[in-house]
Structures are given as structure tokens and as C-alpha cells.
Symmetry: C2
Subunit: 210 residues, 2 copies
């Protein structure tokens, strides 16, 4: 059965899913939703995703939401090539790296949170930049320690995992916000390697980019 990805070129969470699809060699039908005009809040989209957020992946098990859940589903439904190591402690480490991005870094700098900081907390652009840089620095410092310890080209070992599918979009975001990444060379190198492995997943390569 075919796969349909509802996304947006610049959505970091949709980018995670595109990377996993690419690594697993899966083709999909792409349905972009322009977050800048609030297309994801349309009732027909909310019927798929009650939060009104991208991504949604439609496939043989229905409409799946939340990128960490979608990535675990891809791993279980299409196990080859694996994006998790076999050993249980290693799996936990890979998932921890993914969670540092998904739970600690990205939630502080996604579009809807930044919008709210501006509208409800009266944050100016200098405050916003400081806020973004702070949380990226906190998370990347930990990731750098872990990738130096566990990585051999990729974030964990010498093959891409779910961790890399989270790290590369966060590096992309950090560069977009002009955050200094020089303290995190292992993190950036692993992201570059995944970018080169799956260039078709990059934001700029999407049909709705611009």
C-alpha cells in the first residue's frame, strides 16, 4: 500500500520523517501544507491530526501522527535497513539522543512556540534569538558528548539511526537561526553525512520550498 506524507518543506518534524523514508528506500506521495498561512488548521486536516500539526503519514495502518511515533512505526513496519541497533542499551541511547532533540530542543524553537513568545510574552527578536540559542546550546552540548562517545561517523556507530533523523533537522534549524555550531563538530559532521546520504529529504529539495 502506498504512503502519503503530509508535511511542509521547512518543518523539522516532517524532515525527520522524510529522512527515515529515504533511508528505508520508501517512496511516498507528498502533500504539502503551507504553515505560513495556517493550512494545517483547516478542518479537513484536523480530521487527520487533531492538533493541526504536520507531519501526518498515511499508510497501511491509517493516518499516523507525531514524528517520533511515525519513525518507530516505520522501523517496525519496514525493518530493513534498521534504524535502531539490536542491543537494548544501544537502542536506549539512540532513542535518548532522539528525545534530546524532540523533547528538549525542538519544542522550544518551533514556529508556534516562537509565535506565542512574540504575541503573549512580548518577546522582541533579540530575546527570541537568545532563547533559541540557549536551548540549542544546552541540548547540543549533551549530544556532542554522546556522539563523541558513541558515534563513528553517524550519531551512534557507523550507520544512520533514528538519532540522526532527529539531529540533522535540528542542525538545519540551528543554521537557519544562525546559531554558532563550532562547539559541536561531531554533531555537525554526523548531520552532514546524513544530508549527503539522503539529499532528496532536504528542505530545499521539496516541491513547496521557497
Amino acid at each position: 500500500m502506498s504512503l502519503t506524507l503530509h508535511g511542509y518543506w521547512r518543518s523539522s518534524a516532517a524532515y525527520r520523517v522524510r529522512l527515515a523514508l529515504g533511508l528505508k528506500g520508501l517512496t511516498y506521495h507528498d502533500v504539502p501544507h503551507d504553515l505560513r498561512v495556517g493550512a494545517q488548521r483547516a478542518p479537513e486536516f484536523r480530521a487527520l491530526q487533531p492538533q493541526g500539526l504536520v507531519p501526518v503519514l498515511e499508510g497501511p495502518d491509517g493516518a499516523l501522527i507525531q514524528s517520533p511515533a511515525i519513525l518507530e512505526w516505520l522501523e517496525e513496519r519496514y525493518p530493513t535497513p534498521p534504524l535502531l541497533p539490536r542491543e537494548l542499551g544501544a537502542r536506549a541511547t539512540v532513542r535518548a539522543m532522539a528525545a534530546i532533540v524532540a523533547c528538549d530542543i525542538h519544542p522550544t524553537n518551533n514556529l508556534r512556540v516562537l509565535t506565542r513568545l512574540r504575541t503573549d510574552l512580548n518577546a522582541d527578536e533579540a530575546m527570541i534569538r537568545g532563547w533559541i540559542a540557549h536551548w540549542i546550546a544546552e541540548g547540543f552540548a549533551a549530544l556532542e558528548t554522546m556522539i563523541r562517545h558513541h558515534g563513528r561517523g553517524f550519531a551512534y556507530g557507523d550507520a544512520p539511526t533514528l538519532a540522526d533523523c532527529h539531529v540533522l533537522p535540528q542542525v538545519y534549524n540551528a543554521e537557519r537561526f544562525a546559531v554558532d555550531l563550532t562547539p559541536y563538530p561531531a554533531t555537525v559532521a554526523s548531520a552532514r553525512r546524513l544530508h549527503d546520504r539522503v539529499p532528496q529529504a532536504a528542505p530545499e529539495a521539496q516541491g513547496d520550498a521557497g
Copy 2:
């Protein structure tokens, strides 16, 4: 091999892990770290957790960090009773509910983020309360829709899952912040049921509570 949980009674992420440990009937050695005095930032703790965050679960596969990763590890290492359904689409739905809490709600109202809103963005307490209430309402509205559709006593079906292990601590947090939960009766009912199933995991039942 024995399990040691590094936590804090009021940490929502540590509470998730206590719930999963309780549901699986696992005993553990409890090591509290007082977040109010920054105990989690001590060098010896950062050697276990480079972010300086609780929880950490030490066990047969080493020191594991990040509660979503720890919960998946518990499920793989101690599969009985299961905290994920068997069918792949159902597993994705349970994980999506967990991610709504872990990635979309909780990151906006954890202690370090609220502290930063106060110090760097000059937010006053009325702004903080509005901020917390907004993100809880956004996430709980979606969870309520999903739990009404999928739940039969618990968040998904009639047995507790990883989703419930996330939802109950977030309901606890919402009550602590005096958020109106009347629009989310199915969510609150599922949380109450898990609380009654694993009362020993509750914040108030911890040795460091107070």
C-alpha cells in the same frame, strides 16, 4: 540485576518512569536529587546524564537517560505486562499520545523553561500561568479527542500503556498549575484510573516529597 532510579518527587519525567516500573512490578533503589537546589547539576550526576536532568535509570544496560527512551527500554527488557499493544497502528497511536505530552506539552512547562521565561523574557506570573494553560489546553484537546476514540478506561483500550504513563504526570502538573480540566473528562478519568493502579508512584508518596 537491580535498578536504581535517579529522580525527584515532582519531576514529571521521573514520575513517568516510576509508573512504568510500578506497572511492570519492578522494584528499584530510589536516589532523589533536589532540583530546587540544583543537585542535578553536580559533576558526578552530569557524568551519568550530560544534560544534568532527571530521570536516570541505572540497570543491566548501564545508565539510561530521557524518559521516553527509558520507557521503551523497560518495555523491551521486561515485556510483561506489555505497555504497548501488539498491532502496529495501535502502537503508533499510543506512542503519538505519549509524544503529545513529551514533545508538545511538557517541554513548555517544565521547571527550567519556566525559569528561563522569568529571567530572560521578563515574564510575570500572570504571563506564566497563561503560557502554561495555553499549551496544556492545546495538547489536552487533542488527547481528549484521541482518548474518547481509542480509550476504554485507559488512554488506549482497557489496559495501561506508555500513553497513560505520560498522561497522568501531565494531569498532575496541570492540577498543580490550577489549569481547568473540565473540558477533558476522558483524559482525567484515565489518569485517575492509573493513579489508583500505581499509587506508590505518585509524587506525594515519594520519600523526598515536601
